[in-house]
Protein backbone atom coordinates (compact mmCIF):
# COMPACT_ATOMS: atom_id res chain seq x y z
CA UNK A 1 0.00 0.00 0.00
CA UNK A 2 2.61 2.46 1.05
CA UNK A 3 5.10 1.37 -1.58
CA UNK A 4 3.05 3.16 -4.22
CA UNK A 5 3.47 6.50 -2.50
CA UNK A 6 7.22 6.14 -2.13
CA UNK A 7 9.20 8.55 -4.29
CA UNK A 8 11.29 6.84 -6.89
CA UNK A 9 14.79 6.63 -5.46
CA UNK A 10 16.28 7.98 -8.69
CA UNK A 11 14.75 11.45 -8.35
CA UNK A 12 17.01 14.13 -6.98
CA UNK A 13 15.51 15.84 -3.92
CA UNK A 14 14.74 19.51 -4.39
CA UNK A 15 15.76 20.15 -0.80
CA UNK A 16 18.00 18.10 1.37
CA UNK A 17 19.07 18.92 4.88
CA UNK A 18 21.91 16.84 6.22
CA UNK A 19 22.82 16.63 9.88
CA UNK A 20 21.83 20.24 10.55
CA UNK A 21 22.95 21.70 13.87
CA UNK A 22 22.12 25.18 15.08
CA UNK A 23 23.46 26.24 18.46
CA UNK A 24 22.98 29.53 20.20
CA UNK A 25 25.21 30.76 23.00
CA UNK A 26 23.27 32.15 25.94
CA UNK A 27 24.76 34.00 28.84
CA UNK A 28 23.30 33.27 32.21
CA UNK A 29 23.42 31.40 35.42
CA UNK A 30 26.03 31.69 38.10
CA UNK A 31 29.25 33.55 37.17
CA UNK A 32 27.71 34.41 33.76
CA UNK A 33 29.15 31.27 32.27
CA UNK A 34 28.31 30.80 28.62
CA UNK A 35 25.95 28.01 27.87
CA UNK A 36 24.91 26.59 24.55
CA UNK A 37 21.34 25.98 23.47
CA UNK A 38 21.08 23.18 20.93
CA UNK A 39 18.09 24.58 19.04
CA UNK A 40 18.48 22.17 16.14
CA UNK A 41 20.39 19.03 16.76
CA UNK A 42 21.15 16.80 13.82
CA UNK A 43 18.12 17.24 11.57
CA UNK A 44 17.96 15.27 8.31
CA UNK A 45 15.22 16.06 5.81
CA UNK A 46 14.56 15.59 2.13
CA UNK A 47 11.82 17.06 -0.04
CA UNK A 48 11.29 15.40 -3.40
CA UNK A 49 10.01 17.50 -6.33
CA UNK A 50 6.27 18.05 -6.12
CA UNK A 51 6.03 16.76 -2.57
CA UNK A 52 4.76 18.40 0.56
CA UNK A 53 6.80 17.52 3.62
CA UNK A 54 5.61 18.77 6.99
CA UNK A 55 7.66 19.49 10.05
CA UNK A 56 5.51 19.20 13.15
CA UNK A 57 6.19 20.17 16.72
CA UNK A 58 5.50 22.62 19.48
CA UNK A 59 6.91 26.07 20.20
CA UNK A 60 10.61 25.92 20.86
CA UNK A 61 11.22 22.54 19.24
CA UNK A 62 13.46 24.09 16.59
CA UNK A 63 11.18 23.85 13.58
CA UNK A 64 11.23 27.53 12.71
CA UNK A 65 15.00 27.72 13.21
CA UNK A 66 15.28 24.88 10.70
CA UNK A 67 13.11 26.87 8.28
CA UNK A 68 15.22 29.99 8.70
CA UNK A 69 18.40 28.01 8.12
CA UNK A 70 16.95 26.61 4.88
CA UNK A 71 16.09 30.15 3.76
CA UNK A 72 19.65 31.27 4.41
CA UNK A 73 18.56 33.46 7.28
CA UNK A 74 20.22 31.56 10.10
CA UNK A 75 23.72 30.21 9.63
CA UNK A 76 23.98 26.60 10.80
CA UNK A 77 26.67 25.58 13.28
CA UNK A 78 27.30 22.51 11.18
CA UNK A 79 25.64 20.37 8.57
CA UNK A 80 24.60 21.00 5.00
CA UNK A 81 21.53 22.41 3.29
CA UNK A 82 21.23 21.74 -0.42
CA UNK A 83 18.52 23.35 -2.55
CA UNK A 84 18.25 22.18 -6.16
CA UNK A 85 21.70 20.70 -5.94
CA UNK A 86 23.35 23.86 -4.62
CA UNK A 87 24.57 24.29 -1.04
CA UNK A 88 23.00 27.26 0.72
CA UNK A 89 26.09 27.85 2.86
CA UNK A 90 29.82 27.49 2.36
CA UNK A 91 31.93 27.69 -0.80
CA UNK A 92 29.88 27.79 -3.99
CA UNK A 93 26.81 29.03 -2.18
CA UNK A 94 24.53 31.23 -4.26
CA UNK A 95 24.26 34.88 -3.27
CA UNK A 96 21.10 36.42 -1.86
CA UNK A 97 19.55 37.17 -5.23
CA UNK A 98 20.13 33.69 -6.58
CA UNK A 99 18.88 32.18 -3.37
CA UNK A 100 15.65 34.15 -3.65
CA UNK A 101 14.90 32.44 -6.95
CA UNK A 102 15.46 28.98 -5.49
CA UNK A 103 13.29 29.09 -2.40
CA UNK A 104 10.75 31.43 -0.86
CA UNK A 105 8.95 31.50 2.45
CA UNK A 106 5.37 32.29 3.47
CA UNK A 107 5.00 33.48 7.05
CA UNK A 108 2.15 33.08 9.53
CA UNK A 109 1.37 36.78 9.60
CA UNK A 110 1.82 38.28 6.13
CA UNK A 111 0.80 41.75 7.32
CA UNK A 112 3.99 42.13 9.31
CA UNK A 113 6.04 41.45 6.18
CA UNK A 114 4.31 44.06 4.02
CA UNK A 115 5.27 47.73 4.03
CA UNK A 116 2.09 49.60 5.03
CA UNK A 117 2.98 52.58 2.85
CA UNK A 118 3.55 50.61 -0.33
CA UNK A 119 0.88 49.33 -2.70
CA UNK A 120 0.64 45.60 -3.25
CA UNK A 121 1.62 46.11 -6.87
CA UNK A 122 4.82 47.81 -5.83
CA UNK A 123 5.60 45.20 -3.18
CA UNK A 124 5.21 42.47 -5.79
CA UNK A 125 7.10 44.18 -8.61
CA UNK A 126 10.09 45.18 -6.53
CA UNK A 127 11.61 41.68 -6.50
CA UNK A 128 11.18 41.58 -10.28
CA UNK A 129 13.02 44.88 -10.59
CA UNK A 130 15.85 43.61 -8.41
CA UNK A 131 16.06 40.49 -10.51
CA UNK A 132 16.53 42.42 -13.73
CA UNK A 133 13.05 42.55 -15.23
CA UNK A 134 13.56 45.97 -16.80
CA UNK A 135 10.43 46.18 -18.90
CA UNK A 136 7.63 47.86 -16.92
CA UNK A 137 4.89 46.19 -18.95
CA UNK A 138 6.32 42.77 -18.23
CA UNK A 139 6.45 43.52 -14.52
CA UNK A 140 2.81 44.69 -14.49
CA UNK A 141 1.92 41.55 -16.40
CA UNK A 142 3.69 39.23 -14.03
CA UNK A 143 2.19 40.94 -10.98
CA UNK A 144 -1.28 40.52 -12.52
CA UNK A 145 -0.57 36.85 -13.20
CA UNK A 146 0.61 36.24 -9.63
CA UNK A 147 -2.46 37.98 -8.22
CA UNK A 148 -4.74 35.87 -10.41
CA UNK A 149 -2.90 32.71 -9.43
CA UNK A 150 -3.73 33.31 -5.78
CA UNK A 151 -7.36 34.19 -6.46
CA UNK A 152 -7.07 37.98 -6.33
CA UNK A 153 -7.70 40.50 -9.10
CA UNK A 154 -5.12 42.52 -11.06
CA UNK A 155 -6.92 45.67 -9.85
CA UNK A 156 -5.83 44.83 -6.32
CA UNK A 157 -2.30 45.92 -7.24
CA UNK A 158 -3.17 49.56 -6.57
CA UNK A 159 -4.35 48.91 -3.02
CA UNK A 160 -2.50 49.10 0.27
CA UNK A 161 -2.05 46.20 2.74
CA UNK A 162 -4.57 47.55 5.25
CA UNK A 163 -7.32 47.38 2.64
CA UNK A 164 -7.23 43.59 2.63
CA UNK A 165 -8.76 41.00 4.95
CA UNK A 166 -6.64 38.43 6.77
CA UNK A 167 -7.28 35.74 4.17
CA UNK A 168 -6.51 38.11 1.31
CA UNK A 169 -3.28 39.17 3.01
CA UNK A 170 -2.18 35.57 3.21
CA UNK A 171 -2.96 35.28 -0.52
CA UNK A 172 -0.70 38.29 -1.06
CA UNK A 173 2.00 36.58 1.01
CA UNK A 174 1.72 33.58 -1.29
CA UNK A 175 1.77 35.77 -4.42
CA UNK A 176 4.94 37.44 -3.13
CA UNK A 177 6.52 34.02 -2.66
CA UNK A 178 5.51 32.94 -6.18
CA UNK A 179 6.56 36.05 -8.09
CA UNK A 180 10.14 34.95 -8.79
CA UNK A 181 9.04 31.47 -9.76
CA UNK A 182 10.79 29.34 -7.12
CA UNK A 183 10.16 25.61 -7.08
CA UNK A 184 10.47 25.25 -3.32
CA UNK A 185 8.28 27.14 -0.87
CA UNK A 186 8.68 27.00 2.87
CA UNK A 187 5.33 27.52 4.59
CA UNK A 188 5.80 28.63 8.19
CA UNK A 189 2.43 28.15 9.96
CA UNK A 190 0.61 29.40 6.85
CA UNK A 191 -2.94 29.04 8.17
CA UNK A 192 -2.76 29.05 11.95
CA UNK A 193 -3.86 32.68 12.30
CA UNK A 194 -6.94 32.20 10.12
CA UNK A 195 -10.61 31.40 10.71
CA UNK A 196 -11.94 27.96 9.79
CA UNK A 197 -13.53 29.00 6.49
CA UNK A 198 -10.56 31.14 5.39
CA UNK A 199 -8.19 28.39 6.46
CA UNK A 200 -10.01 25.94 4.20
CA UNK A 201 -9.74 28.36 1.26
CA UNK A 202 -6.00 28.89 1.75
CA UNK A 203 -5.35 25.15 2.12
CA UNK A 204 -7.29 24.53 -1.10
CA UNK A 205 -5.29 27.27 -2.82
CA UNK A 206 -1.97 25.81 -1.65
CA UNK A 207 -2.97 22.34 -2.89
CA UNK A 208 -4.07 23.78 -6.27
CA UNK A 209 -0.86 25.76 -6.70
CA UNK A 210 1.23 22.74 -5.81
CA UNK A 211 -0.44 20.77 -8.56
CA UNK A 212 -0.63 23.52 -11.21
CA UNK A 213 2.88 24.89 -10.77
CA UNK A 214 4.60 21.69 -9.62
CA UNK A 215 5.71 23.31 -6.39
CA UNK A 216 7.39 21.54 -3.51
CA UNK A 217 6.49 22.54 0.01
CA UNK A 218 8.17 22.28 3.35
CA UNK A 219 5.37 23.11 5.76
CA UNK A 220 6.05 24.02 9.38
CA UNK A 221 2.93 23.55 11.46
CA UNK A 222 1.54 22.51 14.78
CA UNK A 223 -1.93 21.87 13.36
CA UNK A 224 -2.03 18.12 12.84
CA UNK A 225 -5.39 18.21 11.09
CA UNK A 226 -3.95 20.45 8.37
CA UNK A 227 -0.71 18.48 8.25
CA UNK A 228 -2.46 15.17 7.73
CA UNK A 229 -4.65 16.69 5.07
CA UNK A 230 -1.98 18.12 2.79
CA UNK A 231 1.33 16.34 3.45
CA UNK A 232 3.02 13.51 1.61
CA UNK A 233 5.56 13.04 4.37
CA UNK A 234 5.65 14.08 7.99
CA UNK A 235 8.57 14.67 10.34
CA UNK A 236 7.83 15.14 14.03
CA UNK A 237 10.29 17.31 15.87
CA UNK A 238 10.91 17.42 19.61
CA UNK A 239 13.64 19.31 21.44
CA UNK A 240 15.72 19.96 18.34
CA UNK A 241 15.55 16.45 16.92
CA UNK A 242 13.31 14.60 14.53
CA UNK A 243 11.82 11.79 16.60
CA UNK A 244 9.61 10.20 13.95
CA UNK A 245 9.46 10.46 10.19
CA UNK A 246 7.58 8.75 7.42
CA UNK A 247 4.77 8.82 4.88
CA UNK A 248 1.65 10.58 6.17
CA UNK A 249 -0.26 7.33 6.36
CA UNK A 250 2.40 5.57 8.40
CA UNK A 251 2.84 8.42 10.87
CA UNK A 252 -0.85 9.12 11.35
CA UNK A 253 -2.24 5.60 11.35
CA UNK A 254 0.61 3.90 13.21
CA UNK A 255 2.33 6.56 15.32
CA UNK A 256 5.14 4.96 17.28
CA UNK A 257 7.10 7.56 19.22
CA UNK A 258 5.47 8.56 22.53
CA UNK A 259 5.72 12.23 21.55
CA UNK A 260 3.88 11.74 18.26
CA UNK A 261 1.22 9.78 20.08
CA UNK A 262 0.83 12.47 22.67
CA UNK A 263 0.45 15.15 19.99
CA UNK A 264 -2.24 13.17 18.21
CA UNK A 265 -4.01 12.33 21.46
CA UNK A 266 -4.12 15.88 22.74
CA UNK A 267 -5.65 17.38 19.60
CA UNK A 268 -9.25 18.22 20.42
CA UNK A 269 -11.08 16.31 17.74
CA UNK A 270 -14.80 16.31 17.02
CA UNK A 271 -14.43 12.75 15.73
CA UNK A 272 -13.80 11.66 19.31
CA UNK A 273 -17.29 12.77 20.25
CA UNK A 274 -18.97 11.10 17.33
CA UNK A 275 -17.07 7.91 18.00
CA UNK A 276 -15.38 7.77 14.60
CA UNK A 277 -13.40 4.56 14.42
CA UNK A 278 -10.50 6.37 12.77
CA UNK A 279 -9.99 8.38 15.91
CA UNK A 280 -8.82 5.52 18.07
CA UNK A 281 -5.06 5.28 18.23
CA UNK A 282 -3.72 1.80 17.59
CA UNK A 283 -1.89 0.29 20.55
CA UNK A 284 1.62 1.64 21.09
CA UNK A 285 4.19 -0.54 19.33
CA UNK A 286 7.18 -1.88 21.18
CA UNK A 287 10.50 -0.31 20.26
CA UNK A 288 12.89 -2.66 18.41
CA UNK A 289 14.35 -5.12 20.91
CA UNK A 290 17.21 -3.83 23.01
CA UNK A 291 16.24 -0.20 22.45
CA UNK A 292 13.90 2.40 23.88
CA UNK A 293 12.20 5.36 22.26
CA UNK A 294 14.35 8.44 22.62
CA UNK A 295 14.38 11.10 23.99
CA UNK A 296 12.11 10.58 26.99
CA UNK A 297 9.32 13.11 26.59
CA UNK A 298 8.56 13.95 30.16
CA UNK A 299 11.77 15.77 30.88
CA UNK A 300 12.95 18.64 28.75
CA UNK A 301 16.67 18.33 28.00
CA UNK A 302 18.68 20.64 30.22
CA UNK A 303 19.91 23.82 28.56
CA UNK A 304 23.58 23.72 27.80
CA UNK A 305 23.88 19.97 27.96
CA UNK A 306 24.76 18.26 24.72
CA UNK A 307 22.10 15.70 23.80
CA UNK A 308 22.86 12.07 24.31
CA UNK A 309 23.55 9.86 21.32
CA UNK A 310 20.62 8.10 19.71
CA UNK A 311 19.81 6.47 16.39
CA UNK A 312 17.04 6.60 13.84
CA UNK A 313 15.76 3.13 12.98
CA UNK A 314 13.35 1.76 10.38
CA UNK A 315 10.18 0.34 11.85
CA UNK A 316 8.25 -0.09 8.64
CA UNK A 317 8.31 0.33 4.91
CA UNK A 318 8.48 4.09 5.01
CA UNK A 319 8.62 4.88 8.67
CA UNK A 320 11.47 5.68 11.02
CA UNK A 321 11.67 6.48 14.70
CA UNK A 322 14.35 7.67 17.11
CA UNK A 323 15.53 5.18 19.70
CA UNK A 324 18.43 4.68 22.03
CA UNK A 325 20.27 1.43 22.26
CA UNK A 326 20.46 -0.01 25.74
Amino acid sequence: MSAATLPSPASEPILSVKDLHVRFPVAGGLLRQRRIVHAVNGVDLAVQPGQCVSLVGESGCGKSTTALAIMGLQAPSSGAIIVEGRPVYGPGAPDRLARARLAQIVFQDPFSTLNPRETIGRALSQPLMLHGVKDRCERVDRVATALRQVGLLPEHATRYPHEFSGGQRQRIGIARALILGPRLIVLDEPVSALDVSIRAQIINLLMDLQQDLGLSYLMISHDLGVVEHVSDRVAVMFAGQIVEEGGWREVFTAPAHPYTRRLIETIPNPARLTGGAQDILPPAPEPPSGTRFWPPIDQRPEIGRPPEPSTFVDIGDDHRVRVRVG
Binding site: E58, S59, G166, D195, V196, S197, R199, A200, Q201, I203, N204, M207, H222, L224, G225, V226, E228, H229, V230, W248, R249, F252, T253, R262, L263, I264, T266, I267, P268, N269, P270, A271, R272, L273, T274, G276, Q278, D279
Partner: protein, 300 residues
Amino acid sequence: MSGPLLDIRGLTIGIPNRNGPPLQIVRDLSFDIMPGEIFGLVGESGSGKSASALALMGLNRRPLTTLKGQALYGGQDLLAMSRRSMRKLRGDRISMIFQEPMTALNPLARIGSQIAEMFVLHRGLSWSDARPKAVEALAAVQVPDPEGRARAYPHQLSGGLRQRVMIAVAMACRPDLLIADEPTTALDVTVQAEVLRLIRELCEREGTAVLLISHDLGVIAQMCQRVGVMANGRLLELRDAKALFTDPRHPYTQGLLAALPRLGSRAVEGRHRLADLDTAIDRNAPGFAETYLRPRGEAA
Protein backbone atom coordinates in the same frame (compact mmCIF):
# COMPACT_ATOMS: atom_id res chain seq x y z
CA MET B 1 -35.19 20.67 38.62
CA SER B 2 -33.83 24.10 39.35
CA GLY B 3 -34.01 26.84 36.73
CA PRO B 4 -31.21 28.12 34.59
CA LEU B 5 -28.32 30.03 36.11
CA LEU B 6 -28.36 32.58 33.35
CA ASP B 7 -31.24 33.14 30.96
CA ILE B 8 -30.46 35.33 27.98
CA ARG B 9 -33.49 36.54 26.05
CA GLY B 10 -33.42 38.45 22.80
CA LEU B 11 -30.02 40.04 23.29
CA THR B 12 -29.46 42.58 20.53
CA ILE B 13 -26.25 44.57 20.30
CA GLY B 14 -25.51 47.27 17.79
CA ILE B 15 -24.22 50.67 16.92
CA PRO B 16 -26.91 53.37 17.09
CA ASN B 17 -27.31 55.40 13.94
CA ARG B 18 -28.76 58.87 14.15
CA ASN B 19 -30.12 58.77 10.62
CA GLY B 20 -31.71 55.37 10.54
CA PRO B 21 -31.99 51.95 12.13
CA PRO B 22 -28.98 50.89 14.21
CA LEU B 23 -26.32 48.65 12.72
CA GLN B 24 -26.91 45.32 14.46
CA ILE B 25 -23.91 43.25 15.48
CA VAL B 26 -25.83 40.62 17.46
CA ARG B 27 -29.48 39.98 16.72
CA ASP B 28 -32.05 38.45 19.04
CA LEU B 29 -29.72 36.04 20.82
CA SER B 30 -31.44 33.72 23.29
CA PHE B 31 -30.01 30.83 25.24
CA ASP B 32 -29.67 29.72 28.82
CA ILE B 33 -26.93 28.20 30.90
CA MET B 34 -27.69 25.70 33.65
CA PRO B 35 -25.77 25.67 36.92
CA GLY B 36 -22.52 23.72 36.48
CA GLU B 37 -22.98 23.28 32.75
CA ILE B 38 -20.28 23.90 30.12
CA PHE B 39 -22.00 25.74 27.30
CA GLY B 40 -20.12 26.37 24.05
CA LEU B 41 -20.52 29.26 21.70
CA VAL B 42 -18.76 28.65 18.39
CA GLY B 43 -18.36 30.93 15.42
CA GLU B 44 -15.86 32.77 13.25
CA SER B 45 -14.35 36.22 13.78
CA GLY B 46 -17.07 38.83 13.60
CA SER B 47 -19.90 36.40 14.32
CA GLY B 48 -20.76 38.33 17.48
CA LYS B 49 -19.76 35.74 20.08
CA SER B 50 -17.28 37.94 21.93
CA ALA B 51 -19.53 41.01 21.76
CA SER B 52 -22.28 38.93 23.40
CA ALA B 53 -19.98 37.78 26.20
CA LEU B 54 -18.73 41.31 26.84
CA ALA B 55 -22.33 42.58 26.93
CA LEU B 56 -23.09 40.09 29.71
CA MET B 57 -20.16 41.46 31.67
CA GLY B 58 -21.16 45.05 30.94
CA LEU B 59 -17.83 45.58 29.24
CA ASN B 60 -18.77 46.64 25.72
CA ARG B 61 -17.45 50.06 24.84
CA ARG B 62 -19.20 52.77 22.86
CA PRO B 63 -20.32 52.88 20.13
CA LEU B 64 -21.29 49.24 20.80
CA THR B 65 -24.56 49.36 22.75
CA THR B 66 -26.96 46.76 24.06
CA LEU B 67 -30.15 47.70 22.24
CA LYS B 68 -32.58 45.09 23.51
CA GLY B 69 -32.85 41.98 25.58
CA GLN B 70 -32.48 40.60 29.05
CA ALA B 71 -29.91 38.43 30.80
CA LEU B 72 -31.55 37.11 33.92
CA TYR B 73 -29.23 35.98 36.68
CA GLY B 74 -30.81 35.16 40.03
CA GLY B 75 -33.83 37.29 39.24
CA GLN B 76 -31.76 40.31 38.23
CA ASP B 77 -31.24 41.56 34.68
CA LEU B 78 -27.50 41.89 34.10
CA LEU B 79 -28.09 44.19 31.17
CA ALA B 80 -30.13 46.67 33.22
CA MET B 81 -27.90 46.69 36.26
CA SER B 82 -26.17 49.80 37.56
CA ARG B 83 -22.44 49.99 36.90
CA ARG B 84 -21.84 49.86 40.62
CA SER B 85 -23.69 46.62 41.26
CA MET B 86 -22.30 45.11 38.06
CA ARG B 87 -18.81 45.83 39.33
CA LYS B 88 -19.62 43.99 42.54
CA LEU B 89 -20.83 40.97 40.63
CA ARG B 90 -18.01 40.92 38.11
CA GLY B 91 -15.05 38.93 39.30
CA ASP B 92 -17.09 37.61 42.22
CA ARG B 93 -20.13 35.75 40.87
CA ILE B 94 -19.31 36.00 37.15
CA SER B 95 -15.73 36.15 35.94
CA MET B 96 -13.98 36.05 32.64
CA ILE B 97 -10.73 34.88 31.07
CA PHE B 98 -9.39 36.01 27.73
CA GLN B 99 -7.23 34.66 24.94
CA GLU B 100 -4.14 36.65 25.80
CA PRO B 101 -3.45 36.58 29.55
CA MET B 102 -0.61 39.08 29.24
CA THR B 103 -3.02 41.87 28.33
CA ALA B 104 -5.26 41.06 31.28
CA LEU B 105 -2.50 40.86 33.90
CA ASN B 106 -0.84 43.95 35.30
CA PRO B 107 2.80 43.74 34.18
CA LEU B 108 3.98 45.79 37.17
CA ALA B 109 2.32 43.77 39.93
CA ARG B 110 3.39 40.44 41.36
CA ILE B 111 1.20 37.45 40.54
CA GLY B 112 0.35 36.89 44.20
CA SER B 113 -1.06 40.34 44.78
CA GLN B 114 -3.12 40.22 41.60
CA ILE B 115 -4.88 37.16 42.96
CA ALA B 116 -4.99 38.45 46.54
CA GLU B 117 -6.73 41.58 45.25
CA MET B 118 -9.80 39.48 44.52
CA PHE B 119 -10.16 38.49 48.18
CA VAL B 120 -9.55 42.07 49.32
CA LEU B 121 -12.09 43.56 46.92
CA HIS B 122 -14.83 40.96 47.08
CA ARG B 123 -14.38 39.27 50.44
CA GLY B 124 -13.17 42.20 52.51
CA LEU B 125 -10.04 40.36 53.63
CA SER B 126 -6.96 42.25 54.72
CA TRP B 127 -3.92 41.98 52.46
CA SER B 128 -2.06 39.92 55.02
CA ASP B 129 -4.94 37.41 55.15
CA ALA B 130 -5.40 37.46 51.39
CA ARG B 131 -1.82 36.56 50.47
CA PRO B 132 -1.85 32.98 51.78
CA LYS B 133 -5.21 32.51 50.03
CA ALA B 134 -3.56 33.61 46.79
CA VAL B 135 -0.89 30.95 47.21
CA GLU B 136 -3.64 28.38 47.79
CA ALA B 137 -5.39 29.56 44.63
CA LEU B 138 -2.15 29.11 42.66
CA ALA B 139 -1.80 25.61 44.06
CA ALA B 140 -5.40 24.87 43.02
CA VAL B 141 -4.56 25.65 39.38
CA GLN B 142 -1.56 23.30 39.65
CA VAL B 143 1.14 25.92 39.34
CA PRO B 144 4.38 24.32 40.48
CA ASP B 145 6.09 26.11 43.40
CA PRO B 146 3.07 28.35 44.15
CA GLU B 147 4.88 30.32 46.86
CA GLY B 148 7.77 31.22 44.60
CA ARG B 149 5.49 31.98 41.66
CA ALA B 150 3.35 34.29 43.79
CA ARG B 151 6.35 36.58 44.01
CA ALA B 152 6.99 36.49 40.24
CA TYR B 153 5.91 39.06 37.68
CA PRO B 154 3.76 38.05 34.69
CA HIS B 155 6.60 38.33 32.16
CA GLN B 156 8.56 35.72 34.07
CA LEU B 157 5.96 33.04 33.35
CA SER B 158 5.28 31.00 30.22
CA GLY B 159 2.05 31.40 28.28
CA GLY B 160 0.53 28.29 29.81
CA LEU B 161 1.39 29.38 33.35
CA ARG B 162 0.00 32.86 32.73
CA GLN B 163 -3.29 31.39 31.61
CA ARG B 164 -3.33 29.28 34.79
CA VAL B 165 -2.79 32.47 36.79
CA MET B 166 -5.73 34.09 34.97
CA ILE B 167 -7.84 31.07 35.87
CA ALA B 168 -6.72 31.40 39.49
CA VAL B 169 -7.81 35.06 39.48
CA ALA B 170 -11.12 34.23 37.82
CA MET B 171 -11.88 31.29 40.12
CA ALA B 172 -10.65 32.95 43.34
CA CYS B 173 -14.15 33.83 44.56
CA ARG B 174 -15.71 30.58 43.35
CA PRO B 175 -17.98 32.23 40.80
CA ASP B 176 -21.24 30.77 39.52
CA LEU B 177 -20.24 31.43 35.93
CA LEU B 178 -16.88 31.57 34.19
CA ILE B 179 -16.85 33.14 30.74
CA ALA B 180 -13.84 31.83 28.82
CA ASP B 181 -13.24 33.67 25.55
CA GLU B 182 -10.82 31.66 23.39
CA PRO B 183 -8.87 30.61 26.51
CA THR B 184 -6.40 28.32 24.73
CA THR B 185 -6.11 29.75 21.24
CA ALA B 186 -2.63 31.16 21.89
CA LEU B 187 -1.28 27.95 23.44
CA ASP B 188 0.52 24.88 22.14
CA VAL B 189 -1.60 21.76 21.78
CA THR B 190 -0.24 19.85 24.77
CA VAL B 191 -0.50 22.95 26.97
CA GLN B 192 -3.98 23.56 25.59
CA ALA B 193 -4.99 20.06 26.65
CA GLU B 194 -3.73 20.68 30.20
CA VAL B 195 -5.48 24.06 30.52
CA LEU B 196 -8.77 22.66 29.21
CA ARG B 197 -8.59 19.77 31.64
CA LEU B 198 -7.89 22.21 34.46
CA ILE B 199 -10.91 24.37 33.58
CA ARG B 200 -13.15 21.33 33.44
CA GLU B 201 -11.94 19.79 36.70
CA LEU B 202 -11.93 23.05 38.64
CA CYS B 203 -15.41 24.04 37.49
CA GLU B 204 -16.76 20.59 38.22
CA ARG B 205 -15.36 20.75 41.73
CA GLU B 206 -16.65 24.25 42.43
CA GLY B 207 -19.95 23.77 40.60
CA THR B 208 -19.09 26.67 38.31
CA ALA B 209 -20.84 26.89 34.96
CA VAL B 210 -18.75 27.83 31.93
CA LEU B 211 -19.59 29.80 28.84
CA LEU B 212 -16.81 28.67 26.50
CA ILE B 213 -16.30 30.79 23.41
CA SER B 214 -14.12 29.39 20.66
CA HIS B 215 -13.67 29.19 16.94
CA ASP B 216 -12.11 25.75 17.41
CA LEU B 217 -14.74 23.07 16.85
CA GLY B 218 -12.44 20.48 18.37
CA VAL B 219 -12.16 22.33 21.66
CA ILE B 220 -15.91 22.85 21.76
CA ALA B 221 -16.61 19.20 21.00
CA GLN B 222 -14.29 18.07 23.75
CA MET B 223 -15.54 20.38 26.48
CA CYS B 224 -19.20 21.21 26.06
CA GLN B 225 -22.54 19.59 26.78
CA ARG B 226 -24.53 22.01 24.65
CA VAL B 227 -23.31 24.15 21.80
CA GLY B 228 -24.62 27.24 20.02
CA VAL B 229 -23.36 28.09 16.55
CA MET B 230 -23.24 31.79 15.71
CA ALA B 231 -22.75 33.52 12.37
CA ASN B 232 -23.57 37.02 11.19
CA GLY B 233 -24.68 37.97 14.70
CA ARG B 234 -27.31 35.28 14.95
CA LEU B 235 -27.60 31.98 16.73
CA LEU B 236 -28.20 29.49 13.94
CA GLU B 237 -28.15 26.17 15.72
CA LEU B 238 -28.32 25.22 19.39
CA ARG B 239 -28.00 21.52 20.13
CA ASP B 240 -26.51 18.90 22.37
CA ALA B 241 -22.84 18.70 21.44
CA LYS B 242 -23.05 15.12 20.26
CA ALA B 243 -26.12 15.80 18.11
CA LEU B 244 -24.50 18.88 16.62
CA PHE B 245 -21.36 17.09 15.53
CA THR B 246 -22.99 13.86 14.33
CA ASP B 247 -25.98 15.42 12.63
CA PRO B 248 -25.56 19.14 11.94
CA ARG B 249 -28.78 20.67 10.60
CA HIS B 250 -28.01 24.22 9.60
CA PRO B 251 -26.19 24.59 6.26
CA TYR B 252 -23.66 26.86 7.96
CA THR B 253 -22.83 24.25 10.63
CA GLN B 254 -22.57 21.60 7.93
CA GLY B 255 -20.23 23.86 5.97
CA LEU B 256 -18.15 24.67 9.02
CA LEU B 257 -17.62 20.98 9.78
CA ALA B 258 -16.80 20.23 6.14
CA ALA B 259 -14.25 23.07 6.04
CA LEU B 260 -12.32 21.55 8.92
CA PRO B 261 -9.43 19.25 8.06
CA ARG B 262 -10.23 16.61 10.65
CA LEU B 263 -7.56 14.32 11.92
CA GLY B 264 -8.23 10.83 10.62
CA SER B 265 -10.41 11.95 7.71
CA ARG B 266 -7.79 11.60 4.99
CA ALA B 267 -7.55 7.85 5.36
CA VAL B 268 -11.29 7.69 4.69
CA GLU B 269 -11.95 10.54 2.27
CA GLY B 270 -8.58 11.09 0.60
CA ARG B 271 -6.86 14.40 -0.04
CA HIS B 272 -10.04 16.22 -1.01
CA ARG B 273 -10.69 19.93 -1.37
CA LEU B 274 -12.14 21.39 1.78
CA ALA B 275 -15.57 22.98 1.68
CA ASP B 276 -15.45 26.68 0.90
CA LEU B 277 -18.01 28.38 3.09
CA ASP B 278 -18.10 31.50 0.92
CA THR B 279 -19.11 29.71 -2.24
CA ALA B 280 -20.94 26.74 -0.74
CA ILE B 281 -23.28 28.82 1.39
CA ASP B 282 -25.50 31.64 0.32
CA ARG B 283 -25.99 33.74 3.41
CA ASN B 284 -28.94 35.48 1.80
CA ALA B 285 -30.77 32.28 0.89
CA PRO B 286 -34.02 31.63 2.79
CA GLY B 287 -32.58 28.41 4.25
CA PHE B 288 -29.86 30.39 6.01
CA ALA B 289 -32.39 32.38 8.02
CA GLU B 290 -33.85 29.22 9.51
CA THR B 291 -32.61 28.27 12.93
CA TYR B 292 -32.32 24.92 14.62
CA LEU B 293 -32.72 25.60 18.30
CA ARG B 294 -33.54 22.51 20.25
CA PRO B 295 -34.61 22.75 23.85
CA ARG B 296 -32.36 21.02 26.33
CA GLY B 297 -32.87 17.32 26.80
CA GLU B 298 -34.82 16.80 23.60
CA ALA B 299 -33.35 14.07 21.44
CA ALA B 300 -31.87 15.28 18.21
